[in-house]
């Protein structure tokens, strides 16, 4: 298919755009199904945990302390790498050197 007319080109363009949409819509559906499956699996595995806690409530474990923060910063569901990034962004946005700021805790806010 070398030389094509403008009309043929227009039809091919519409067909191509529709193919991209169809492909990505199907991929979207696949992603939604995958997401629902994994969320349901996560709920199932998380569900028995509170029952065990009722039987023998364990003392609340102290949140791990981030390295390089003189042992003061507490992290809740946050990786040290992410925490370091957050601290660097905050320092950059405030225009202050990071060693002049004191971070007490970083907690991930769940949806």
């Amino acid at each position: 298919m070398e030389n094509i007319t403008l009309g043929q080109g227009g039809i091919l363009a519409l067909l191509g755009y529709a193919t991209v949409f169809a492909g990505l819509i199907l991929l979207m559906l696949l992603t939604i199904i995958l997401g629902k499956f994994f969320m349901a699996t996560a709920k199932k595995t998380a569900a028995p945990a509170p029952a065990k806690q009722e039987e023998a409530p364990a003392p609340a474990a102290e949140a791990p302390k981030a390295p390089g923060s003189a042992g003061q910063l507490k992290l809740y569901n946050v990786e040290p790498k992410t925490a370091a990034m957050v601290m660097a962004i905050v320092a950059d946005k405030m225009g202050k050197p990071i060693n002049e700021l004191r971070f007490l805790s970083i907690k991930e806010v769940a949806e």
Binding site: E2, L12, G16, Y17, T19, G23, L24, I25, G35, T41
Partner: protein
């Protein structure tokens, strides 16, 4: 021994004597591209190599790249054996482009650097990635109207996908004679995204829409991130087998990143491999900028069609963004639609910046990354479609 004769002989064998006006203009263009890469920082990692490749290939008598060999190769008169026997250094480099090895390896590195988390947490982003391919097909029609063949028009249209490796992959297969012009246009416009997109973002959205703060997306599990690249490869490669090299490499790179057991491979893909291939790819693309091929009215048409493709792709993403904003009653900021053109992560950064201009407490970056990586998949699908129609 006549000294005059020796000097004359030396002059006749030098590149200065063999210089044509096309060589001179191309050397100047190479220097301008170097200036844009070094001083203006237009995609310097690639443009630097492209510019230097352009200079090397236009040095008379240097014989580093042989356009005539590749023309004969395209006409099926010779094979790789003859090119390896008679070719120069840049001919060897170019074999990696011609066989699509470099674009695919670049895609592997891109995959290893990409986090599909934002896309997985908000799958509707895929619609924006699809919408932002509008420029690809509009420029394709425009190129046919301007007299290009179907295969050439397809290669020009893919500039609108704002994805360098995909543009090189498709053009090297469909219209290698246009590779230099298309690669330069694609990478230059990608660098100019912060200038090209904002006026259209303001034109197609209201200030109230740009102010919209989007809700935090859900957390994506590791297992989901591992299954995703495998699922996408199977699905997309079965749908459009011609996209398998690009999508396969993209997703292999991403899988290496997400598994957590192949960190060394992921690190190599992201750094050493990516850097080596970038050097080879950029120099060999620059090598195709031979004066006789590049200094034609077609190049000018490609430059114009390329910017039109970029603008229309941006508008396509924004328009569907506005539609989704209205359908969700203001839960989606339409600015993230503009990130549906690939150009990772530049387009997402521009969406974030424009959102912050309207509302300084607005952080759209992660939300815009969804359409941004969806655009990569979308442009690969568009390329696969065009390849299936015009490929040999």
């Amino acid at each position: 021994m006549n000294i005059g004769e020796i000097l004359l002989n030396l002059w006749e064998k030098s590149g200065f004597a063999a210089m044509t006006w096309q060589n001179g203009v191309m050397l100047l263009i190479g220097c301008v591209l170097l200036y844009l890469a070094i001083v203006k920082k237009f995609e310097p990692l690639l443009l630097c190599g492209i510019a230097f490749g352009c200079i090397l290939t236009n040095l008379p008598m240097a014989n580093m790249y042989h356009q005539e060999l590749w023309t004969a190769f395209m006409n099926k008169e010779i094979g790789y054996g003859e090119i390896m026997k008679s070719g120069g250094l840049l001919d060897f480099f170019y074999i990696g482009v011609k066989t699509s090895i470099y674009p695919c390896l670049i895609f592997m590195g891109v995959g290893a650097m990409t986090d599909f988390g934002p896309l997985l947490s908000n799958p509707k982003s895929l619609l924006l990635g699809a919408a932002a391919q509008m420029g690809v097909f509009a420029a394709f029609v425009g190129a046919i109207a301007l007299g290009f063949t179907g295969a050439q028009a397809a290669s020009i249209g893919i500039i609108g996908g704002a994805d360098g490796p995909t543009a090189i992959f498709l053009t090297s297969k469909l219209a290698p004679e246009l590779l230099g012009a298309i690669a330069v246009a694609a990478y230059s416009y990608m660098a100019l995204i912060p200038l090209i997109q904002p006026p259209f973002m303001k034109l197609l959205t209201t200030k109230e829409q740009r102010k919209i703060k989007m809700e935090q997306t859900r957390k994506v599990s590791k297992a989901e991130k591992i299954v995703f690249p495998v699922a996408v490869t199977l699905f997309v490669a079965l749908l459009l087998p011609d996209t398998a090299p690009l999508i396969g490499c993209l997703m292999l790179g991403n899988l290496a990143k997400e598994t957590g057991v192949t960190d060394r491979l992921s690190d190599t893909m992201q750094n050493a491999l990516m850097n080596i291939v970038t050097i080879l790819l950029s120099v060999s693309v620059g090598a195709t900028m031979v004066g006789s091929n590049f200094l034609t009215p077609e190049t000018l048409k490609i430059v114009v069609l390329g910017v039109v493709a970029f603008i229309l792709s941006t508008c396509g993403g924004l328009l569907v963004g506005v539609l989704m904003c209205k359908l969700t009653k203001g839960k989606i900021n339409p600015l993230i639609g503009s990130a549906g053109v690939s150009a990772v992560p530049m387009a997402a950064r521009v969406a974030n910046k424009e959102g912050q201009k309207a509302n300084p407490s607005n952080f759209l970056l992660m939300h815009a990354m969804g359409p941004n990586v969806a655009g990569v998949i979308g442009s690969a699908i568009a390329a696969g479609f065009l390849l299936s129609i015009f490929g040999a």
